[in-house]
Amino acid sequence: MAGTGTAHLRDGDVVLRVDDLVVEFPMGRHATVSAVAGVSFDVLRGETLGIVGESGCGKSTTGRAIMQITAPTSGTVSFEGTDLTSLSYSDLREARTKIQMIFQDPISSLNPRRKVRDSVKDPLDIWQRGSEAQRIELVNSILEQVGIDPERAAESRPHQFSGGQCQRISIARALVLDPTLIICDEPVSALDVSVQAQVLNLLEDLKQQYGLTLIFIAHDLAVVKNISDRVAVMYLGKLCEVASSDDLYGRPAHPYTNVLVESIPIPDPELAVAGTTITGEPPSPVNPPSGCRFHPRCPYADDICSRTEPTMRSIGDGHFVACHHPLVTPVSIA
């Protein structure tokens, strides 16, 4: 098995379960990029799963592969018990209404030539939900909820709104079909801190109100900590650690997570000098290192790390790590 194990998977009301997901891209004539290399995780109903990791480690690709926008090379994506990888095109289209995605760039993800309210209403028109009057009523009430004036939205195009407003509009559009799961790929990275705070509070409110399940991909670890119940850390196409967000930041166990947490820029010039920084060259996803993919850059690596791939194991309290030498002593080995 190519994956890093499944000890961290749970029973219970699982909305999404990704099993041994592999996504490869051709690069040049003879090489392939191993973007996602056997990743497994699950998300419970009403939970927010944060995904963090180095740029290029496969976060967006994982999100797109869940939606089947990028076809997985292998593995399964089971959403409310149905494997999306085996669905026919029309069944997949139907299933996709229950999973929505919000992207980083709020302005370019809306059609620049259309009135904003029409863009939000589109999914309802396509799926012919209710009468025209009902659709408009629903769209208006959702726009109201995300803090956008429906009248103004009916008359204006995206460029007439700010970045934060466009992100609220994208969120409204993601909500109209009453989805179960929303995958947010860096939804606040392009926003300034004050608007970011508004959007994060808004997501939190909407989650309660609509009983949403979220996957939240981002670079800003403080943001991820704020919104997530559980956080998964990825490194070069693999999962290296999963834990509740308070636990992950409180006692990072994987050497990579530790570097990540230590690199967080602190808004205080007296403390801003970075602690541990990452060393070594970033590895190639075309020719990934043997054994643990982090071993060439890991200060704790030894022989076994370069030979054998570590699998996920429990270190207690729902905290899992894929490392031969985690930074805390394992409590129980699952």
Binding site: S55, V193, A197, V223, N226, I264, P269, P282, S284, V286
Partner: protein, 356 residues
């Protein structure tokens, strides 16, 4: 650091950039948009200035004004002196000899600024050939080295790829490589690390910092991430509604923040030490309409500390009692009795981590 280009024959001390009462207004159907409305500051060689402020406060327009990269609808006034020479209002033909080799810019949106139809190799190699007169072999080798410096794995292969084949963060690093390619004296980095993870972000900022020291390059770092400016700048300028509202050396600013606006920005950042799901403080309302800015303090309509005077009269930029290099524009700054009185009220109503 391996990139050492064009370092000889440079003046290495003194003021590099002096801008005085710069106004950049845009003619639009709705009227004149006062995007930058009377900004004055100077920047020493080798120093890094951070510009922070909400979206729409004029950070990018200010940078573009200095670079001379504005649409024809822009109406300019004031003065921009670069290395002693007045450059405000020079046309593209006159500016061209400064671009790349003297000033360069990492743009905010890497997907838009990279040519999607051109392999990234060509996008780096061409400016090296044009500005530095390198031959092909030399330019290719330099391009590879630049990509390696910005931590792109397998640079030789990446040179042959198109922008869409790279992850968001890699595209951003390519932009940085292009901006550093010709060894500029002044680097504008407009949100250079928003698409990057924290480890790469730290490396890139370090890389920019090394370049700064090695070649005495000045840097203007535009960002709304106060964490980034805290560790990588000498000074910080805070913009609001086209105006400079606070400016101070970095440590001084964080130690003695004066503007309620700066304070509110700080408070809206999620803090790592807070438990997850902590309610975030927000700044109510929206930035001012730059066609019809409020007549008093431009922040007054959103400021929880505003009083009648703020609505009526615009506060001047004055020197702080804490440092002669610290300026701010506020009638009731942090620390004044009026501010403190209201702050106690607000923080009590809100509760710790409550919503504002």
């Amino acid at each position: 650091m391996t990139v050492r280009l064009q370092t000889e024959g440079r003046v290495s001390e003194g003021t590099l950039l002096e801008i005085a009462d710069v106004k950049t207004h845009f003619r639009t159907e709705r009227g004149l948009v006062r995007a930058v409305d009377g900004v004055t500051f100077s920047l020493e060689r080798g120093k890094a200035l951070g510009i922070v402020g909400e979206s729409g406060s004029g950070k990018t327009v200010l940078s573009r004004t200095i670079m001379g990269l504005l649409p024809s609808t822009a109406v300019l006034s004031g003065s921009v002196r670069f290395a002693g020479q007045e450059i405000l209002g020079l046309d593209a033909r006159q500016m061209r000899h400064l671009w790349g080799s003297e000033m360069s810019m990492v743009f905010q949106n890497p997907m838009v600024s990279l040519n999607p139809l051109m392999k990234i190799g060509k996008q780096i190699i061409e400016p090296l050939q044009i500005h530095l007169g390198m031959d092909k072999t030399n330019a290719v080798a330099t391009a590879e080295r630049l990509l390696r410096d910005v931590r792109i794995p397998e640079p030789e292969k990446r040179l042959g790829q198109f922008p869409h084949e790279l992850s968001g963060g890699m595209r951003q690093r390519v932009m940085i490589a292009i901006a550093l390619a010709c060894g500029p004296t002044l680097l504008f980095a407009d949100e250079p690390t928003t698409a990057l993870d924290v480890t790469v972000q730290a490396q890139i900022l370090e890389l920019i910092g090394e370049q700064r020291k090695d070649r005495n390059m000045s840097v203007i770092l535009v960002t709304h991430d106060l964490g980034v400016v805290a560790g990588h700048t000498d000074e910080i300028a805070v913009m609001y509604g086209g105006r400079l509202v606070e400016k101070a050396p970095t440590r001084e600013l964080f130690a003695n923040m004066k503007m309620p606006y700066t304070k509110s920005l700080m408070r809206s950042i999620p803090k790592l030490e807070d438990p997850s799901h902590t309610r975030l403080l927000t700044i109510p309302g929206r930035p001012p309409d730059l066609v019809n800015p409020p007549k008093g303090c431009r922040f007054a309509p959103r400021c929880a500390y505003a009083r009648e005077k703020c609505v009526q009269h615009e506060p001047p930029l004055i020197v702080s009692d804490t440092s002669s290099e610290h300026f701010y524009a506020c009638w009731y700054p942090v620390g004044s009795p009026e501010f403190e009185e209201r702050d106690v009220e607000i923080m009590t109503n809100v509760g710790v981590g409550g919503s504002a």
